[in-house]
Each structure stands twice: as C-alpha cells, then as structure tokens.
Amino acid sequence: MNPFALLTIYRKEMLEMVRDRRTMFSMVLVPIIAMPLLFKVAGYFLTTSDKQAEAQAVVLAIPERLAMPGLEDALRAGGFQLQVSDDPRAAVEKKKAAAAVVEAQSPTGDPLVRLYVDRTRTASDKASDKLRVALDSLKTEKVRAALAGSGVPVKVLTPFTVDRVDVAPKGKKGKMELGGMIGYIVVLLMFSGCMYPALDMTAGEKERRTLEILLAAPASRQEIVLGKILAASTAAFITAVLNVLSLSYAFSSGAIGKDMHDALGNMQVDGRVIALVLLAVLPTAVTAAAVMITISAFAKSFKEGQSYLTPLMMLVVFPAIVGLMPGVEASAGLMLLPVVNVSQLIKQVVSGEATAVNFGISFGSNLVYATIAFLVAVRIFQREDVLFRS
C-alpha cells in the first residue's frame, strides 16, 4: 500500500465533495441549521398547542340546573367556566366545550355525576383531569361533613399519607431523553451525510465514465477503495461533528425555544460529553461509508444507487430508534448490535450513565464491523462484473 497514492485519492475525493452542492447540503446545512430549527419549530408548536388546550380545558357544558348541592360551586372553584347547554354531550362532541357534567341516578338509586369527555382531544383530556380533582374535593367535603355530624373523627379519612421520593439526580430524565434524541438524530444524519459522497464516488464515477481512468492510473484497487472510504467516512464524521455541536449549542443555549429548554431541565452539554459522543460514532462513520460504497458500487448510475441505498437508510432508522425508547437498558448483547449500540451509547454518554465496559464493547464491535465492511468493499472493487456492469 502506497500511502502517498492513498492520500492523493483521498484529497481528490474531498475536493470533488466540497464542490458538490448535494453533498454540502446534506453534510453541512442539514446538521447545522435544519435539525436545531426543527426542534425550535416543534417546540413552538408543542407549547402553543398545549397553551391552547389549557385555555380550552376550562369550558364546561352543564344542563340548565344542577341539583346536587355544592356541585356548581365546586366546579367554579375548580376553575371552570360553566356554559349552560340543552345537550351537554353534543356540546362536547361539537367541540363547543372541553367536557360536560350531567346528573343522573345509578342503578342502585344513588346520585351519579356523569362526565362527557373526548379522549382524543388534549383539551378534553385536561378538563377530565381537572374535573376529577374538583369532584374528589367535593366528595371529601361531603364525607367530612357527614363524619362531623356522626361524631367520627375526620382523621379516619387519612389513615396514612404517601411520600414519593425520586432518587434520580436532578435533570437526569431530561438528559436521558435528550441523549436518546441526539443518538437517533446523529446516527441517522451521519448515514445520510455520507450517502451522497458514497454514491458520487462509485455509481457517479461510473456514470461520468471516470472510474475507468482511475483504475488505469498508478494506484492499486486497495488504495483507490481506501481513499474513497476514508473520504466518505470524513463526510459522515463531519456531519456528526456539526450535528452534535449544533444540537449541543441549541439545547444548552436555549436556541430551541424557552419552553423546550425548560422541558429538558435547562441542561448543558459539556465538552467532555461532546468528545465522547464523537469518539463513539467514529467507527460507525467508517462502517457506514464502507457499506454504502460497497452497495453503490453495484449501481450503474447515481439514480440507481439512490434506490439501492434508500432501503438501507430505512434499515438504519429502526435500530437507531431503540435509543429513544424509554425503559431500554443497555446490555452487553445490545451493545454488540450495529447502530443500536452507538445510539444507545450516545444516550448513555449524554445522560452520564456510560460505563467503560459498554463503551469498550460498542467501540470494539463497531471497529470489527468497519474492518469487515472495508474488506468486503475491497473485494467488490476487484470484481469486473460489478465495476463494468452493463
């Protein structure tokens, strides 16, 4: 292997890459601007719709008269705006009220308060929760009054109280959620960031008829493939670096929006975490590049290559999403699975839960996958039926 030839091929691929608009878009623009912007927009819509739902949740439809003593006052005390309606149930169905309260009789003849809610609407769901609190409070008041009349101490209502203590450090939940999100986004964008360069270096070169002269140049097939894989890996890694830095900045600075920032516990992503995340993704960047170069080498054109790589992108989504799932605990077996391990590892690193063993297993296994993918790519580049498929 001639390192000078390898470096020359690498430099050529990098030069072509930076002059390709599609690559620059997926490698630079998407991770720096699109993802933080997406979070900001998503955060804005989430908080806006939540505020709207909160405002709508206070509108309650009731019949012209509520017979139960104290019920109307309890509802008003619960913060509801009471709206008299001929048909309270229809008012909920037509979204004129978040919920409705009517009185009826149970089969045993006892008083029954019937609530009409629409569980598919956030406002109605919130109203349902508020109603439960208001009605529980009224019920307690009535029991308390009855007990006072009969001479039984009120204390009998609360034989004990429950105090739940969360032992998780402050902000850990937010970090776990953020880690899962960063893991998913970084892995996904890393693959998409190296997709165009990988296609361009193989199927694109075939289509533009430049591969033949490169194969006839004084460089071995190994040097050519390794140069291409290194360049595509660089693209994947740069995408990951830009993505991690922009997301970290967006999350730490609150550029994603105050509400989203508050929801994530005002968390900060420090330099050590960023460095560990980038180290964790490094072998996966090489694997992604080698796999994509191998697959797209079979394509005769850029367009054909795209149709080969699109299913791969979909295959990556499912294991990457494991990191987002709550309750998935990192086991040694999980840390051996490609893509799953790196998204899980990023989640652990961001939440401060990563162990040296898990890091080692994930990093080591991804190094093995990268080596295998590279060897397969070299073999594929020796095959005339692949390179000169017509």
Binding site: R209, E212, L215, A217
Partner: protein, 252 residues
C-alpha cells in the same frame, strides 16, 4: 515494448451466455512506433486496450508492457502507461490543472518537477486560457486536450489511446495528431484505436484490424495493400470485413 501473446477475454452474460470479446490475439508494438487498432463497433478494440491498461483481467494468454506482465505486475504496468479512455474520463468538478496534478502525483511526480511538467503540458496542448476552469464548463475539444494531457502528464513510455479524435473539430483533431506524432518522435510507443481511416493511414506505422474478437491482419500499409490488393485503408478495411464498398460501386 508491448508484447501480446494469445490474449483472450470472455465475458459471462446472463442473456447471451459466454461472449468472446477477444480471442487469441497476438501482436507486438515497439518504441517509436504508432500502432493503430481498427475494427467496427463491438470488434474488441476497447477490450484489448482495457486489458493492456490492466482495467480488465484476461481470461487467456499473456501480455507485457515495458517488460511487466499485465496480470502479475499490474502496478508497474500502470506506471508505464498513459491511458485515454473512449469517454475521456475527466472529473467535471476539477480544473484541467487539478486533474493533471492528481494524475501526476499518482504517477509518482512531486513538487516543482510536477508543476513544471503541468506547465509544459498546458503549453503543448494550448490549454493556457482554460487550465483553471472546471472541466464541466469546457467544450469537447478542450476536454479532449485536457484528457490527453492527463494521460501524458507522468511521461510514460507507452500511450494507450482509445479513439483520441472522437467528436473533435478539424483544428483540434489536427493538434492531437501533431501531439501523437511528436510523442512518437520522442520515443514513445503508442497504441490507439480509431474509426477515422484517413487518420490511421496518416499516423500509423503499422495497423491491426480486429473483427469479432479476432485479429484479421497486422502490418504496414504496404503489407495491408499487398495482402488485400486494395489501395486505400477504407477499401482494405471493408475488404477484410467482407463488406462491399458502396462508395466505390457508386463511382464505377
């Protein structure tokens, strides 16, 4: 300089089965010689040139270039040749100067020597006005000049040129012809394929005609005339292919 012995290439095609693109071709090309390879489309010319350039591997026979075997020593063969493919093969996003630098470096050239060589090639092929313009912005003639300069930049002793004048206007084709003749005079061994009979007749010291993967004849124009009884290369070529020359019949 180039020695080809019983060289064969068979492709396996799913629909057509085994395709014998080249069958037992033997020939020799010497330094300071221009050797033309003629043949109709699909005759096996490009396959022969690709085999010599080590882009494809033979399924039978042997060949050596500059003393190096094309199968056992492909790296040394590639360092000894300048290869121009039929499609030019220029990187559209790079400038001719960058392309020359890339292939010069792959050919083992460095620093000042490489920059001097690039300047020399740019001047020789009259590329001064567009040497720093991206290749995808250039005309066909400009691109072909850049492609030939690319094949020659590391100053190899052997040139393998697949249809170097394809699609060129007369002045550019003339410039390329002059360049090939100059290269021969500087001791290069040149193999090139073409469909332009006048060009082959004017440039080549010896000519080979390939048809259906087989070598039909090799020799100087005099040898070809003697073997076929025809005068012009076009007549000789059609005679070897067993095709009547309608142009001659029209004159008769």
């Amino acid at each position: 300089m180039i020695r080809v012995e019983s060289l064969s290439k068979t492709f396996h095609d799913k629909k057509r089965g085994e395709v014998h693109a080249l069958e037992s071709v033997s020939l020799e090309v010497h330094p300071r010689e221009i050797f033309g390879v003629l043949g109709p489309n699909g005759a096996g010319k490009t396959t022969l040139l690709r085999l010599l350039a080590t882009v494809l591997a033979p399924t039978g026979g042997t060949a050596s270039i500059n003393g190096y075997d094309i199968v056992r020593e492909p790296a040394k063969v590639r360092a000894s040749i300048g290869f121009l493919s039929g499609d030019m093969g220029l990187y559209g996003r790079l400038t001719p100067r960058e392309i020359l630098r890339l292939f010069g470096e792959l050919g083992g050239m460095r620093g000042g020597a490489l920059e001097s060589r690039i300047a020399e090639m740019v001047a020789l092929l009259e590329m001064q006005s567009y040497a720093d313009t991206r290749a995808d912005k250039l005309s066909t003639g400009m691109r072909q000049r850049a492609a030939i300069a690319r094949a020659m930049v590391h100053d190899p002793p052997v040139l393998i040129l697949d249809e170097p004048s394809y699609g060129l206007d007369v002045p550019t084709a003339r410039l390329i012809e002059k360049f090939i003749l100059d290269a021969r005079n500087r001791g290069k061994c040149i193999v090139f394929s073409t469909h332009v009979m006048e060009e082959a007749e004017y440039l080549c010291d010896r000519i080979a005609v390939i048809h259906e993967g087989r070598l039909r004849i090799t020799g100087t124009m005099e040898d070809l005339r003697a073997a076929t009884g025809k005068t012009r290369l076009r007549e000789i070529f059609l005679n070897l292919l067993g095709i009547p020359d309608t142009r001659m019949e029209a004159h008769a």
